[in-house]
Symmetry: C2
């Protein structure tokens, strides 16, 4: 196994250097590099020689890199797609638990109100949690939910089995999960099909013990219907990392609804992206050295 010759730039970062070295790589000047780890924005991409066989980009979505015309088909490109899944997945688990166990409510207390907390709580243990959109992010939640004693009902586009889920439904049967599951986590992309996927009927089916978590896009939920359901007790509560409109304006009822938790699109915070990128670098440099397929391969002809 050769030691890959890797250039990191334009910005240096000791943690990235260490990750490359842990993976068996050697840090070299740009002129000698066969692999380039880009640490910076696309305006900063250094001139690449023919020697460079692989370029690792730092972001998961790379539309702007394509738009700027730097991506060519003369070498392999990888994005950080999927590298941040675990952070978002953990955020979703944290939101659901905080909701179900009354911690959102408790965090606002300034007095020892044990009576409220004694009655508003539920448990994930023994519950069924539907993950709508069990892709990279959604499926990364499953081990935590299983560890908490819940079972998982997955929804994916085609409905092929998802590891750890007791059942997987195809997207065209998504409406069934609101009655079948105790809680629903939204992790599906924003498309024409998922727009206002959750409205009054779905919330009514979810029922008064059910929590709704949205870490996908605000457009998946009909906000007015949700506000109404929260006020009426149609569902137990909602924990939202994304909203419609977003940012949620000051004075919006969701800020003060007792059974709502709003985090400001923060399940993938910059402070965690660094660590996740380092983890991805280490894995990809190891794979590059071993001649294995890289993670986050960019399809240059399709543009993603």
């Amino acid at each position: 196994m050769a030691s890959p010759a890797v250039f990191i730039g334009p910005q240096e970062n000791p943690s990235l250097t260490e990750a490359v070295q842990r993976a068996g790589g050697t840090i070299v000047p740009l002129a000698e590099a066969e692999a380039v780890i880009v640490n910076g924005g696309h305006g900063d991409l250094p001139e690449l020689s023919e020697k460079v066989r692989w370029v690792q980009l730092p972001s998961a979505g790379i539309e702007s890199w394509f738009a700027s015309g730097v991506i060519d088909d003369s070498r392999t490109w990888t994005s950080a797609a999927g590298a941040y899944s675990h952070s978002v997945a953990e955020g979703a688990v944290a939101l659901l638990l905080a909701g179900v166990r009354g911690i959102g409510r408790a965090a606002r207390l300034q007095s020892w109100d044990s009576e409220t907390l004694d009655t508003v709580q539920g448990t994930l243990r023994g519950s069924t949690i539907a993950i709508v959109g069990a892709g990279g992010i959604g499926s990364a939640m499953i081990p935590a939910f299983l560890g908490l004693g819940a079972r998982v009902l997955a929804v994916t586009r085609r409905g092929l089995p998802v590891e750890g889920a007791y059942e997987t439904l195809p997207a065209d049967r998504v409406s069934e999960v609101f009655a079948k599951a105790d809680h629903v986590v939204l992790a599906a992309p924003a498309t024409a099909e998922t727009k206002a996927l959750v409205g009054a009927a779905e919330l009514a089916a979810l029922g008064p013990q059910g929590w709704l978590v949205n870490i996908a896009r605000g457009s998946l939920v009909d906000t007015d219907a949700l506000v109404e359901a929260l006020a009426a007790g149609t569902i137990a509560g909602a924990a939202l990392d994304v909203t419609d409109p977003e940012p949620l304006p000051d004075g919006h009822p969701l800020w003060t609804t007792p059974n709502a938790i709003v985090t400001p699109h923060s399940t993938n915070p910059s402070v965690l992206r660094v660590g996740a990128f380092i983890e991805r670098i280490e894995e990809n440099v190891r794979r590059f050295g071993a001649g294995e397929e890289l993670l986050g391969l960019v399809d240059v002809t399709r543009g993603y």
Copy 2:
């Protein structure tokens, strides 16, 4: 396998009845019962005939049942000891996640402050979590922590291996965990040895990224030292279900410290005790019918 003849009383409860029946038991009048499930306080215990070979009490701590003199050595008694471990354990996981992922902070927002949430968060993934007191409650947290990609350092009285923990230390080495672990969860009983177990030195060792969770007893933590450490950023934060003093008085700084979460001794709420008791009943009736050892056996001579 015989069908156990079970009396439930003094209060009836359809869910308990169903649990007994699911376990293969038959509900009978008190005069015909060989097993009695007590659903009520100890003042309510019915007169037991000699036929009754087993009595299931509804609480985990049974000091008051002993004190009232109803427990005799002419039959088997079981408490609900351990039945509520999962609820408390889940509460501890929820508190740690809510702290580390900034949800306590977010729950108090009334404005889209994404900048704060972008910087204050950590992750349990890849972290080391020390569970001080890895007994019934502490060890029930382990599958969830493993599912979140953390590893567990356990502390038990004798330091015998705990399933799922990568290492277990005996109680006399507990001081080591504050430097070794990223986060510390307190789940140990309140004794002379654990009084003010966590003071200024332990908090300093835990460090500015570390969260402290206490679901045990308030006396384990030196509250003044904790308040100081939270204000100074010596640790990242604290999530407390128990406090010293308890209840935490109005106006106490912990109510308004941004990196503190206080829940009012509510990780074992009454709303969840019912479900856990039902689960225990089903298991114990099944065991009784099969002639297996019951869970929560009371040692009548020792008084617990």
